[in-house]
């Protein structure tokens, strides 16, 4: 017997500057821009609300036929601090999900960019990649901070 195969999609939610304080201070320095893009998510962003918006946008793009593939769509993990999450869907139809992720503009009334980072066959590899990416991100922030202060950088 062949077992049922899945695909795990690692994604992140970004917050571009719209209005208020962010709009003015965003362009002052590269670290401020990076940190305000990768903000913490508000508490109303739960796995349930995000899967509902993804399902409704699949319904909008592909209709009843397409959304029949998204019935098994399931959010395995979402962290509000780092605003990254992992989605699970069946192997044959994961293209429908990855194609609709860039077309989402609002979640719960907040304007966002949903960025698909990685697709893999096991959830372990997704977790590993998320940790690796976070380390890279921290290294970049430190690099930019040092270059702003004017110290000489040697890597």
């Amino acid at each position: 017997m062949v077992r049922l195969k899945q695909r795990y999609i690692l994604f992140e939610v970004l917050y571009p500057p719209t209005d208020g304080e962010d709009f003015q201070t965003y362009s002052e320095s590269p670290t401020k821009a990076l940190l305000s893009l990768h903000q913490e998510s508000p508490p109303q962003f739960t796995p349930k609300t995000i899967t509902n918006t993804i399902k409704s946008s699949i319904q909008e793009l592909y209709g009843d036929y397409g959304s029949s593939f998204a019935v098994q769509l399931n959010m395995k993990y979402f962290n509000n601090k780092t605003s990254t999450g992992i989605l699970r869907c069946t192997k044959t139809n994961f293209h429908f999900v990855t194609a609709t992720l860039p077309l989402i503009t609002t979640i719960e009334g907040r304007k966002v960019i949903v960025n698909c980072i990685h697709v893999s066959g096991t959830i372990k590899k997704c977790e590993d990649y998320a940790i690796k990416r976070n380390l890279q991100f921290m290294r970049r922030v430190r690099f930019l901070e040092k270059s702003e202060n004017g110290t000489i950088i040697t890597i």
């Binding site: 571009p16 500057p17 719209t18 709009f23 003015q24 965003y26 362009s27 320095s29 590269p30 821009a33 990076l34 893009l37 909008e60 293209h95 429908f96 990855t98 194609a99 609709t100 992720l101 860039p102 077309l103 503009t105 304007k111 960019i113 960025n115 698909c116 930019l144 270059s147 702003e148």
Partner: protein, 288 residues
């Protein structure tokens, strides 16, 4: 190295910007930089009826990069400028060659089939962006498009209206037009760019390619999109720095460095003006 060849300038004439518009365009550049686009082009889009100030060359380009953003803060970021002319009747556009030294890229937006055909044959341009978010009143033919690809002109797909539009009609039209363009070009010589005024509508390159794979672009064609954008940018820069885009004399010229263009233009302009005057004199003699 990924390029975004179309970030829209907020105005389509020579009026000065308000402070909020300047911060908005700053935010636009930095967001696209953080999404992985290191070479960013600001697009100044005009209709053909707007009179460009030919007599005052310093005022031709309204986009002053040094006044907008301090590039040295952001490692590897480079900002360029581009002129797009919306064309209905291509016979009015004979003077387009005069603007070439003041913009890094030159593109046209044809509205009719005849203007598309004529501008491919007559004009010296880098990019063609067909208005994909409206209903086209002509059918894109492989024969016409093939001529442009032979000359090295690239075709642009703007994904901005696809994301920002609220009505389903523009989405339908865009998808059908994009599929038509992919069929006509056989997925050669295509470029993907944002074409939006708002940082909310920007997406990273691979995310957009995920969507375009469902429209019939194959996996092994994806790297071509990136290469084509770079080729178009090099083509445009070579027009300023070299003789007929083939010969360069100075070794030390950095093609991507556009900070010294203004000084060099003054020298080149005087020479060209003299050449033009002599040409006109000879023609007058021939006719009389």
């Amino acid at each position: 190295m990924t390029c975004d060849l179309n970030l829209l300038w907020p105005k389509s004439n020579y009026d000065a910007l308000t402070p909020s518009e300047i911060t908005n365009i700053k935010n636009l550049i930095i967001t696209s930089y953080n999404l992985g686009y290191y070479n960013v082009v600001i697009n100044f889009e005009v209709s053909e009826s707007l009179k460009l100030p030919i007599n005052e060359p310093s005022k031709l380009n309204p986009i002053k990069i040094k006044e907008i953003i301090d590039i040295s803060k952001f490692p590897d970021l480079k900002v360029f400028t581009r002129l797009t002319v919306i064309v209905n009747d291509s016979s009015k556009l004979i003077n387009l060659n005069k603007y070439q030294n003041y913009f890094d890229l030159i593109a046209i937006k044809p509205q009719t089939e005849k203007s598309l055909q004529n501008s491919i044959i007559n004009l010296n341009i880098d990019l063609i962006s067909i208005p994909l978010d409206t209903k086209l009143n002509f059918y894109i033919k492989h024969k016409i498009v093939g001529k442009a690809l032979e000359k090295g002109i690239k075709f642009e797909i703007c994904y901005g209206p696809l994301i920002s539009s609220t009505s389903t009609l523009t989405r339908k039209l865009m998808i059908s037009n994009i599929v038509q363009l992919i069929r006509a070009t056989r997925s050669n010589g295509l470029i993907i760019s944002s074409g939006s005024k708002n940082p909310i509508n920007l997406r990273s390159f691979h995310n957009i390619m995920n969507f375009f794979q469902t429209l019939g672009i194959k996996l092994n064609h994806i790297n071509k999109f990136d290469d084509n954008a770079e080729k178009a940018l090099i083509n445009g820069r070579l027009r300023i720095n070299s003789y007929k885009q083939t010969v360069m004399i100075d070794d030390n010229v950095n093609l991507y460095d556009n900070s010294k263009d203004e000084e060099n233009n003054v020298m080149a302009n005087n020479y060209k003006k003299r050449l033009n005057d002599e040409d006109i004199g000879q023609r007058k003699k021939l006719h009389s």
